[in-house]
């Protein structure tokens, strides 16, 4: 790990947090946690939002590097990274083009699937198609093709917002409508029963490395927004309680997804390990949550990394890479 060295080589760094997506609150919590950890490491770290004040502030007082922790649109669709590139400041994380592919779940599934990683069979349908072709006919075909149960989620977005499982045919229209509240395109996947895990991949200077898998077990119901962000509503096991062969396969899948999507520095891949031990790719996050209930900080800790030092290392590497 290349985390050593004097912190004085930093002027100041900016932690981007907030944004206008429904994940704003989560992002602010992530950003504060990263900022606090950096300050404890002796870095002058300042929080900035993605608003009209951002570009003038970056131009007037350029930071050594930026740590984006904005989730959802802007933060993960590549937009804010394009802006950072336009302004000419180095930043932690993947380039805009890779973010665009990763943030769009169907695109990510296709690219990761092409790399040989299994992913649940799915269809991706925009809202208009239900309107123009008739919702009943479309829904009937989905169930005929994919069967039940299913899982419906917005093609773009995170934090389980607009996502819901479908156990019976009658639940599918409601799930699709809930999904359309958060986006105009629905990803409808075959539901894979098994162990839900998140594997973070970080590159602290020695190349991308998969951290220990974090197993996610909601105490009741599904891993929805409340379960994600209410401490105590979910039990996390690090490493996941899976056979070594499954853990190795999952780690390889996360690392392969990171590579296949052209990601850099940091990512978190969500996977399901089926009861038969097969690993399925669900989605990848280029700006993973950093809150106290987020899995990436847990995985860093389990791997023996100090959170602040890891953030500092990522910033140092970004600064060395340049804008």
């Amino acid at each position: 790990m290349n985390g050593g060295g004097a912190v004085t080589d930093f002027d100041h760094v900016v932690v981007l947090a907030g944004g206008l997506s429904p994940e704003r609150d989560v992002s602010l919590r992530s950003g504060r946690r990263v900022r606090d950890a950096l300050e404890e490491s002796g870095v002058d770290a300042r929080i900035a939002d993605a608003d009209a004040a951002l570009i003038p502030a970056l131009l007037a007082d350029p930071p050594t590097a930026v740590f984006p922790t904005i989730h959802g649109s802007y933060g993960e669709d590549g937009a804010i990274r394009e802006i950072l590139a336009l302004v000419g400041v180095p930043y932690v994380g993947s380039a805009a083009s890779a973010c665009r592919a990763a943030f769009d779940k169907p695109t990510a599934k296709a690219l990761v699937g092409a790399a040989g990683i299994a992913t649940p069979e799915s269809v991706t349908l925009p809202r208009e198609i239900f309107h123009d072709l008739g919702a009943t006919a479309v829904i009937d075909r989905i169930i005929a093709r994919l069967g039940l149960p299913l899982f419906v989620k917005p093609a773009r977005g995170g934090s389980s917002l607009g996502a819901s499982p479908v156990r019976t045919a009658s639940e599918l229209p409601t799930a699709v409508v809930s999904c359309f509240a958060y986006g105009d395109t629905a990803l409808i996947e075959r539901f894979i029963s098994g162990t839900e895990i998140a594997i973070s991949v970080v590159d602290l200077g020695d190349g991308p490395s998969a951290l220990p898998a974090v197993e996610i077990v909601p105490t009741a119901g599904q891993y929805d927004y409340a379960a994600r962000y209410t401490a105590g509503r979910t039990a996390f096991y690090t490493p996941a309680r899976l056979p070594d062969a499954a853990l190795d396969a999952a780690a390889k899948a996360a690392a392969s997804a990171h590579a296949a999507l052209g990601l850099r520095d940091i990512s978190r891949t969500d996977l399901i390990v089926s009861e038969s031990g097969e690993v399925y790719f669900l989605e990848v996050n280029v700006s993973p949550g950093m809150t106290e209930t987020s899995t990436l900080p847990m995985a860093l800790d389990a791997a023996g990394h100090d959170f602040g030092t890891a953030c500092l290392t990522l910033l140092r590497l970004a600064a060395a890479r340049g804008s």
Partner: protein, 440 residues
């Protein structure tokens, strides 16, 4: 590239982050992260036109004058203002509160008054001293979300009573009391916001007031009259308070949050003596005493500033914004929408076309950069799915018009979605689920 070598020698460690998760009281069960609160985190951004928040427009206050006044207060009376006081509250302020209540026909003595941390604390204290888990509280349908939160905290069983454009319907109240009594249920009180109600914007008609009092007197039922907006009517004199005509059967809750500023957190309860005594003891146990500083600041404001003129200015400002909203609603909203016409206060209550769920629609609205409060927040029983609350108190008129324009397009898109898929079951969980204090 390495891939997972670090996990091989570790033992799985289960963590629930909060080691005390199983220790919380039953009443904390509903205290969880929610999508709705997450959405409201966005609405504070200036890019969003928030028609959700109930924040008074304090910018209209003479802030420099208030600043000077507060400075003098500390310089001249700091040893009192910065000290503890009694749990009942500053006696000078209580005298002035009686003068304020006299504008609504109440003849009160300062001893009747307990100063509280906003009227929200009065609600909490009232519920604390009256309601055991499972006992019934009657409340209007819809009702103030902050009250529902207090009732939920004490595990009350809220039974809603229907309203129309003239407020609480006496026959519905009679029917509810008879039905619950016949079922052996114990009703502890009727909670009502009679003037410019939050969220419905309606006012209890003058001719209905004696009937409501009579029904409750006959049933031996205490009334909690919550009146934050009583002096903010747009036409004519303030309505006569229920407590003015039944001081033994009504506890009156008041606040300076709307007539002065919510930041001072000064409200009060005016209650019959026995109830007042218990409220004082409950207040002492809750906060020891209220802020002396805030109480003296409000007392000073009332004594030295033309506060009634300021309230007139507020009324005019809010009336203009109400008009802007009503005009925009009439011009922009699609067929099938209906809304109330408030004669005061802060809120319009909007009914959506059949099949549209306001809570399910909220993420799309926020994406379109307009916010409101879904109707379900104002019901304890899952009602209100087809309603939403719009507030006009804080945004400027041009922002209100822009917000309604955005809302209209969101509703039109939702109508289209509803036509495609048919009406959906209600969205999400039941009960008060709301943003922060500014949105109450």
């Amino acid at each position: 590239m390495s891939d997972g070598t670090r996990h091989a020698n570790s033992r799985p460690q289960g963590s629930r982050i909060d080691p005390y998760f199983d220790q919380y009281a039953e009443r904390a069960r509903g205290m969880v992260a929610s999508e709705i609160r997450a959405l409201f985190a966005v609405t504070a951004r200036p890019e969003i036109v928030s028609l959700a928040g109930g924040s008074p427009y304090v910018t209209a206050l003479p802030l420099d004058v208030v600043g000077d006044m507060v400075g003098r207060l500390v310089a001249d009376r700091g040893s009192v203002a910065l000290q503890y006081c009694t749990a009942q509250g500053d006696s000078g302020l209580r005298e002035k509160i009686c003068e304020v209540m006299s504008l609504e026909g109440i003849r009160a003595h300062p001893d009747d008054v307990v100063v509280t941390v906003g009227s929200q604390q009065a609600l909490d204290l009232i519920t604390r001293i009256f309601v055991d888990p499972g006992e019934v509280v009657l409340a209007e349908a819809p009702s103030y979300v902050g009250a529902l939160s207090s009732f939920a905290a004490y595990q009350a069983d809220v039974v809603h009573v229907a309203m129309d454009d003239d407020g609480l319907i006496p026959e519905a109240l009679e029917e509810a009391i008879a039905r619950l009594t016949a079922a052996g249920r114990r009703i502890k009180f009727l909670y009502t916001v009679p003037n410019y109600q939050n969220p419905a914007g309606v006012t209890l008609a003058a001719e209905r007031r004696p009937r409501i009092l009579g029904i409750c007197q006959a049933a031996g039922l205490l009334i909690i009259e919550d009146n934050p907006y009583g002096l903010l009517g747009f036409d004519g004199e303030p309505m006569r308070s229920l407590r003015a005509d039944d001081p033994d059967g009504v506890v009156y809750l008041g606040t300076f949050s709307k007539t002065f500023a919510p930041g001072v957190r000064v409200g009060w309860a005016s209650a019959p003596p026995a109830i007042r005594d218990k409220l004082v003891l409950a207040a002492e146990s809750a906060v020891l005493c209220h802020s002396s500083f805030s109480q003296l600041a409000v007392g000073e404001y009332l004594a030295t500033q033309p506060w009634q003129e300021q309230v007139k200015d507020f009324r005019e400002l809010y009336r203009r914004r109400r008009d802007a909203m009503l005009e925009a609603l009439a011009a922009e909203l699609p067929d099938g929408c209906r809304w109330t016409t408030p004669a005061g206060g802060f809120y319009v209550w909007l009914q959506l076309p059949e099949g549209i769920d306001s809570k399910a629609m909220l993420p799309r609205a926020v994406s379109s950069r307009v916010a409101y409060v879904p109707g379900t927040g104002f019901y304890a029983d899952g009602g209100g799915t087809d309603h939403l609350r719009l507030s006009y108190c804080f945004p400027l008129p041009e922002r209100i018009r822009e917000g309604v324009r955005r809302l209209a397009s969101v509703i039109e898109a939702e109508i289209d979605l509803c036509a495609t898929f048919g009406a959906m079951p209600p969205h999400g969980r039941v009960g008060p689920e709301t943003p922060g204090p500014g949105d109450l």
